[in-house]
């Protein structure tokens, strides 16, 4: 698939000497939802800031729809909408004025019909004449999204858009994001709610300490890095895992009624046959068994730990 953002060998060292990004290479594909995951201070916001023109990079180059972000900054930036992490708003402006301001700032002529469409989609229409300072945090977040969508961007950056947002808004928001994807808008999001990435994203990048550890299709990432768990419900309670089963690294549930075996789905031998044989030889019988895939969150935690 054609790439719409191309980040090449980008580094950022702040004046304090802190190296926020280390030679990042990243291609964002046109029309995809790309989730950028990473712990606090990993470099997510810095990377977004560089692409959007807010942060000066120390080295490397970035193109947006093949436009160099320095040379052709007008063409590049007019394609991008940014929803920042912080709730930065003009307290005294009305919702309508601040959203219309953003449209003008991005070089688009006034279009009240479009602004109305955006405000309605984000359930902001009845607040259009309210001043920003009278809105709740969740409402302000909606306004920031409306501002970013006011100029009909082809690329949308959502920097932790659901931080501190209630469940209803989160659902609304993801509805809007799905709608945008259907319209062909490319979406790059960072989030702390990994289940969101798991649900929404096509591809996932994990960044830690300024380095991109992995960039992969979501399903492939889960498949490749994911571990599966085999849970055996025992007939009889066990006090401890019998010594003969040590090589399988089993864990026993607190009540002694479940044995859990973790295995790598990508390994040539999963070890299940051997385990079942050893269990039979040890005289341990089970009444039921179930397997489960590790979640993206578990994969993420593992990746970050490995990097530390």
């Amino acid at each position: 698939m054609e790439s719409i953002i191309s980040v090449s060998n980008v580094s950022k060292t702040y004046a304090s000497g802190f190296e926020a990004l280390k030679r990042i290479d990243l291609e964002i594909r046109r029309g995809e939802i790309f989730a950028l995951l990473g712990p606090n201070g990993a470099g997510k916001t810095t990377l977004i800031g560089i692409v959007c023109g807010i942060v000066n990079r120390t080295a490397g180059s970035v193109t947006v729809a093949r436009y160099d972000i320095d040379r052709d900054y007008r063409a590049a930036r007019s394609l991008i909408g940014l929803v920042p992490q912080e709730l930065t708003t003009d307290a005294f402006e009305t919702v309508w004025d601040t959203v219309s301001f953003s449209r003008g700032l991005f070089g688009k002529p006034a279009d009240p019909a479009h602004i109305e469409k955006v405000l309605r989609a984000l359930s902001l229409w009845d607040k259009k004449d309210s001043r920003m300072m009278t809105l709740s945090g969740g409402m302000k977040r909606r306004v920031l999204i409306a501002k970013a969508l006011s100029h009909e961007p082809r690329i949308l950056f959502l920097d932790e858009p659901t931080a501190g947002v209630d469940v209803e808004l989160r659902k609304d928001l993801w509805g809007v994001v799905r709608g945008l994807k259907e319209e062909g808008v490319t979406i790059i999001l960072t989030t702390h709610y990994i289940e969101e990435a798991e649900e929404m994203a096509d591809r996932i990048g994990v960044i830690n300490r300024g380095e991109l550890i992995v960039v992969e299709e979501k399903a492939a990432l889960i498949r490749q890095l994911g571990k599966k768990r085999l849970t055996l419900e025992l007939h009889e309670r066990l006090e401890a895992v019998p010594p003969g089963l040590d090589r399988h690294h089993l864990t026993l549930s607190r009540d002694g009624r479940e044995l859990v075996y973790t295995y790598d789905t990508q390994a040539q031998r999963t070890g299940i046959t051997a385990l079942l044989r050893d269990l039979s030889e040890a005289g341990i019988r089970f009444r039921d068994l179930a397997t489960s895939q590790s979640s993206l969150e578990e994969i993420f935690v593992d990746l970050v730990r490995q990097g530390q």
Binding site: N56, R74, L82, T88, D90, G104, L105, G107, K108
Partner: protein, 253 residues
């Protein structure tokens, strides 16, 4: 040219003035009226004419300049500092706008406000003292040039400031004293020779002198020097602003 963006920034800044009409327009008019009452009517009556101009009328150009300088600096510095303070500057930095367009929006709005105020003060002065403007074109030229130049200075201060104290520091400690000592309320001839000479290092002297010449045809220093000094200061401000944008100084991390 992204004219929509220029209009958006300009309109945003001007709407702030409309929202805060009382503090933006009414209070400067009241304070200027007080100057006229105190210096023009009360004390002024005891002061003889200067170069054939009554004292009340003599201080009008200086008072307009005082208003123009302080308002240009404070409007422009606040205009750019506030988005930095609240964080909304992200939108300006990420928008497809050139530095020139950003300046046109912010400095244009700040200068417009000062010019409007200057004209309001002029009209207010007309209520207290008889006025005459001998060189109206030059009067407007000095008015606009000064408003633009000091709005640029205000923009620089707004970018440089990293707290509200610093925002107040330059206007309070530099602009205000220079204006008061810049011949706003007196002719340089009234000073002892040493202070006359020292005053020539005060850029405001040239602004006030040139502006007063456009009203009454009399000046402390030659009009050509006044005009070129204003242009030189404008050029200096443009160079500094250009460097700010080129390096992202205190705007980008």
């Amino acid at each position: 040219m992204n004219l929509h963006a220029v209009r958006a920034i300009y309109g945003f800044e001007m709407s702030r003035t409309r929202r805060t009409l009382l503090q933006s327009i009414v209070s400067p008019v009241i304070s200027t009226s007080l100057y006229f009452v105190v210096f023009g009517a009360a004390i002024g009556q005891r002061i003889p004419e200067i170069d054939g101009v009554s004292y009340g009328a003599f201080i009008v150009p200086g008072l307009i300049m005082l208003m123009l300088l302080t308002q240009s600096v404070s409007n422009a510095s606040f205009g750019i500092y506030f988005p930095k303070f609240t964080g909304t500057i992200y939108e300006i930095l990420s928008a497809p706008v050139s530095y020139f367009e950003v300046l046109l929006g912010y400095v244009g709005a700040a200068a417009s406000k000062s010019i409007i105020l200057g004209l309001i003060v002029l009209a207010t002065a007309g209520l207290f003292v008889p006025l005459r403007i001998e060189h109206p074109v030059w009067m407007v030229t000095f008015l606009v040039l000064t408003a633009v130049t000091f709005s640029l200075l205000g923009f620089i201060i707004g970018v440089w400031a990293d707290g509200f104290e610093k925002l107040q520091l330059v206007p309070l400690l530099i602009i205000m004293p220079l204006t008061f000592l810049g011949g706003t309320f007196y002719s340089l001839d009234a000073l002892p020779p040493f202070w006359q000479y020292a005053s020539l290092f005060n850029p405001v002297v040239y602004l006030v002198s040139g502006f007063r010449w456009s009203f009454y045809g009399v000046s402390d220093v030659s009009v050509a020097i006044s005009f070129s000094t204003t242009l030189a200061f404008l050029a200096l401000c443009i160079v500094v602003v250009w460097r700010i944008f080129a390096t992202g100084y205190r705007l980008k991390t």
